[in-house]
Amino acid sequence: MSNESNNTPDGKILILATETCAYPGANSVGQAHSSYPANTYILRVRAPVLFPETFYLDCFKKGIGGIIIMACGEECPYDGAFHALSKRLDQVFKTMKAKGLDLRRLRLTAICTVCNRAFLKEVNDMNALIQELGRPTEGEMKAA
């Protein structure tokens, strides 16, 4: 319970978790009953390459504090998708930088079906960051 932060609108973390790797990975954390902050919202995705650059920026504009893309990494079952995603994110990071959004708010990581420790680390790290940064500032939201 101790590491459950308040579910305040200031600190929401969106997790895009791949259907074949990270989403079952998050379930595996659940099966182990390992607690983590409750301000995390996991969306099941087939491959995060589906999201255009604007999706991420819009999320920040709407007030999402941090986004973790939990992909399958090199184990991605869709040929070429992970590479395309990395390329897209390079672009998103560039835009975020240009607009003055803290780059640490967006994170790409590979989580497997049993990567419990890695999952918890990612979530806790992002939560610590969001507690420090708060939701995107007016300036950041406007820029996004």
Binding site: K12, N27, Q31, L43, L50, Y78
Partner: protein, 633 residues
């Protein structure tokens, strides 16, 4: 589907069903409170809770609301969707509603099991609200139905390929078995007695290969490879090229056999089963097939020049070389000898080319490392050690291992028996691997030294006559096929299944299945397990004469599409094409998706400048609405 039309055109009326899961959820989440919160969302017409939503009464609750016309969308909030998504989809279908007008909120694994008290209840409300938001945007979908050919191509004629071919045939499915060499049996042909049953590898191969050759439903093509591929599950078109063995080294080894017709139908030890005379001319043909099973197997690791003295000293050999030597030696010789010399002491080194560690081991010329355990070598090494001790008690055996991994039924016995028969064990750390040197003095050709962790780091040095390297497995090089069929490969270079636990023999490319060691190191029992699983999966796919595919594939909004072709350029599986269409009398090009090829990865969605392409059931707009619901909660 008239009801579908009604469902898609009428205003969404969402029914929400929240599960207690016995107490698994309701002990931590105030489910009644969640139901009440959700009831206030516009469009939600019922919000129920139930002790077990997956039970018959739980499912009936949904079905009654559908039948009475109260609802036309369903949200179930319960355990992980992988467990019961299908259960609820089927329940909805039985109530005559489109099963894809349903979404699932995971409030057990991703909420009540990881959070407690008010935050858990608040999060459950948010997750359900997000699912409601998505559900309102759902459209009725139909599974994609395509005719399927009752035929399977099996690539590779090792144990996996033979087992799969026979099982498929027994289900009435015609099989083409494509083997690149002139022989059947694969790597198992290089083995003798097998762990853990002591069965003869040659006998097992012969049993399967003969049955396959005699089966009129199985067409075997040796000296053959796949050179062309197109199509989709149920309707693949595969080009197979057969050619006489070329003049490479392999042919040198087999020339005597393949030109001798009397060898046809025989199991030739350490070569393979010879099913038919080799072709004398090149031939290319196209085979139409419904499913493809990969059984392309492995190759053994070849140690680098100088790795533990390999290539530098003729007395350093690999385990497969030794197995072959033993099979021939055991029959004739009184004492173990090698290259005409008496072997008084032999050293065996485990994990050669397996479990490599960056920073300690050297990557190969392509910068690859084999970080995995090859799983079969520990047992095979101990078996060989015991065979030496039992047949040649005067020959001492020293065994240098990192860990002993004799997993599986009957395999630990080999370790026990090897210990009992005085095999001497030494354990090494990877950073202090055994050192093999030429012996400058004495009458032993080699010297091996190691820091032995079993004696707390004592430096051990021993003179030996022979060193056997337990080489591991590497996937067979099939880059051509991987590129041609766009197959997913893991970082270990073995073919990568969709899900290691829930869909272990399927590739993401629907209709292409995995059997045996092309997927990971396995012994023959596991290889045959996987082959039988692939055969059953293939027969399940083809059994109805058509295949039904998930409708979660890309769909084009023709009103928005302007034919830029951005989607065509990025699609990794060539599922989108530009097709000429007439709009207002004018001929233009618009994107068209082949749903049977599309994997639904969505790479095209982000690339379309007009948002004219989306993955059905997982649209961008649905995600945006879910984010809005999360932010608003």
């Amino acid at each position: 589907m008239s009801s579908n039309k009604k469902e898609s055109t009428s205003e969404p009326r969402v029914g929400v069903y929240i599960c207690h899961c016995g107490g698994n959820i309701s002990d931590h989440v105030d489910v009644e409170q969640v139901a009440e919160n959700i009831r206030k969302i516009p469009g939600v017409v019922v919000s129920h809770t139930n002790t077990f939503m997956c039970s018959d009464p739980g499912q009936e609750l949904i079905q009654e609301d559908i039948k009475s016309g109260k609802i036309n969308r369903v949200v179930v909030a319960s355990c992980a969707p992988s467990l019961h998504e299908l259960t609820f989809r089927n329940a909805i279908k039985r109530a005559d509603m489109n099963p894809y007008l349903y979404d699932h909120a995971n409030i057990r694994e991703q909420d009540s099991w990881v959070h407690h008290g008010d935050p858990a209840t608040a999060k459950a409300t948010t997750l359900v609200a997000a699912a409601v938001a998505k559900t309102k945007r759902l459209e009725p979908l139909d599974p994609i139905r395509v005719d399927a050919r009752n035929h399977v191509i099996v690539i590779g004629g090792g144990m996996a390929g033979l087992r799969a071919a026979l099982d498929l045939s027994s289900r009435g499915i015609a099989v083409s078995l494509i083997e690149k060499s002139p022989f059947l049996g694969g790597q198992a042909a290089n083995l003798d007695k097998l762990v853990p049953t002591e069965a003869s590898a040659g006998d097992l191969i012969k049993q399967l290969a003969q049955a396959a050759v005699e089966d009129p439903n199985i067409q075997i093509s040796t000296c053959s490879q796949i050179v062309g591929f197109e199509g989709y599950v149920g309707n693949f078109k595969v080009t197979v090229q057969t050619h006489p063995p070329d003049a490479d080294t392999r042919r040198q080894i087999i020339r005597g056999i393949t030109s001798d017709k009397s060898q046809v139908g025989k199991m030739i030890p350490f070569v393979g089963y010879f099913p038919s005379a080799v072709p004398t001319s090149e031939q290319t043909r196209i085979i139409d097939t419904g499913v493809i099973v990969f059984a392309t197997g492995f190759k053994t690791y070849t140690p680098r020049q100088g790795e533990f003295g390999f290539g530098d000293f003729p007395e350093v050999i690999t385990l497969p070389m030794f197995i072959r030597h033993m099979a021939q030696a055991a029959a004739n010789d009184k004492h173990l000898s090698f290259n005409g010399k008496k072997i008084r002491r032999v050293a065996m080194i485990h994990c050669v080319g397996s479990r490599q560690i960056p920073g300690i081991h050297e990557a190969d010329e392509n910068d690859y490392m084999n970080e995995y355990c090859s799983r079969t070598c520990c047992s095979a090494t101990l078996r060989a050690a015991m065979e030496i001790r039992e047949n040649f008690p005067k020959t001492q055996v020293l065994d240098f291992y990192r860990d002993i991994r004799t997993y599986g039924r009957g395999q630990e016995d080999y370790y026990d028996r090897a210990s009992e028969s005085n095999v001497l064990f030494f354990r090494y750390e990877p950073e202090d691997s055994p050192l093999v040197e030429k012996n400058s003095s004495g009458d032993f050709p080699l010297k091996i030294s190691v820091k032995d962790t079993l004696t707390f780091g004592e430096e051990i040095e021993a003179d030996v006559d022979l060193i056997i390297l337990s080489v591991g497995m590497e996937p067979n090089p099939i880059t051509g096929l991987v590129d041609m069929m766009k197959l997913p490969v893991g970082s270990d270079r073995f073919l990568q299944e969709v899900h290691p636990k829930l869909r272990p023999v399927e590739l993401a490319n629907t209709g292409i299945l995995l059997a045996g060691t092309c997927q990971a190191p396995m012994d023959i029992s596991e290889t045959c397990n996987a082959a039988q699983a692939a055969a059953v999966k293939a027969s399940a796919l083809l059994g109805k004469g058509y295949v039904e595919l998930d409708p979660f594939v890309a769909g084009v909004d023709l009103a928005a599409c302007s034919g830029t072709g951005a989607c065509v350029d990025v699609c990794p599986v060539d599922a989108v094409k530009l097709k000429p269409v007439k709009i207002n009398g004018e001929e233009v090009e618009r994107a068209e998706v082949n749903p049977a090829i599309c994997t639904g990865c969505g790479v095209c969605v982000a690339e379309c400048p007009h948002n004219a392409i989306d993955v059905k059931g997982w649209t961008l707009k649905q995600y945006e609405d879910m984010v809005d619901a999360i932010v608003a909660a």
